[in-house]
Symmetry: C2
Subunit: 128 residues, 2 copies
């Protein structure tokens, strides 16, 4: 069984979020998703419209997702890859090469993004 891990803030859940989860689950077997905790987003100077609890609840309800984990510290990528015996770390290709340091611990795969949608684009579009 191939275990996959990906992560995201998943704010304003949209079709690009869904497409990554769906594609990862189609390609492999067991999908673990990290959802960024509000306090950890603050450390990254990021913010979201919805709080962690609501975002995590929505991601947990997607039928392609097997498990949701809270992302709350910088060291977690490597420790969770080991802890959950992850085979493949999945990211989308906006971040190509950026996670290649994880190749020491598992396979790293960059999936194509869905065009014309992102949480930032929704926020900007709605600002008008």
């Amino acid at each position: 069984m191939k275990k996959i891990l990906t992560y995201w803030t998943f704010d304003l859940f949209h079709i690009w979020h869904l497409n990554i989860l769906k594609r990862a689950k189609e390609l492999w077997d067991y999908l673990i998703v990290w959802v960024s905790w509000d306090e950890f987003n603050k450390l990254k100077h990021k913010s979201s419209y919805s709080n962690y609890e609501d975002r995590a609840e929505i991601v947990s309800s997607i039928k392609y997702v097997d498990k949701v984990i809270k992302e709350d510290n910088w060291e977690q990528k490597i420790s969770d890859i080991k802890k959950y015996d992850i085979d493949i770390f999945v990211m989308w290709d906006d971040w190509k090469w950026k996670f290649d340091d994880l190749k020491e611990y598992c396979e790293v795969v960059y999936l194509p993004r869905t065009e014309n949608i992102s949480s930032s684009k929704i926020k900007n579009d709605l600002k008008g």
Copy 2:
């Protein structure tokens, strides 16, 4: 087996959307969801940020949902209640009493809304 039907535009999928779907599925057995088609929303003088295809795909991916149907005409409520042999029509209590005319065809249940969230509120909040 109790078959339930609800409907919504499901724009900017949020925790209130999810809570209604989850609660309906917890209470009964088989959940059919109508998602409003873009052209039909225009007739109702409504619009959504995301198109029908994306909204329907997200709702279809929620693990509490058994089937998604396109809502595209005014006569559909009664005809689909008959066609799919629906036991319970579910709406949230903002619309209390408004769908009681359907009681001729099935049970009508109004579930409590989730406070402080709606697609309109997200749009207004993001407008700033």
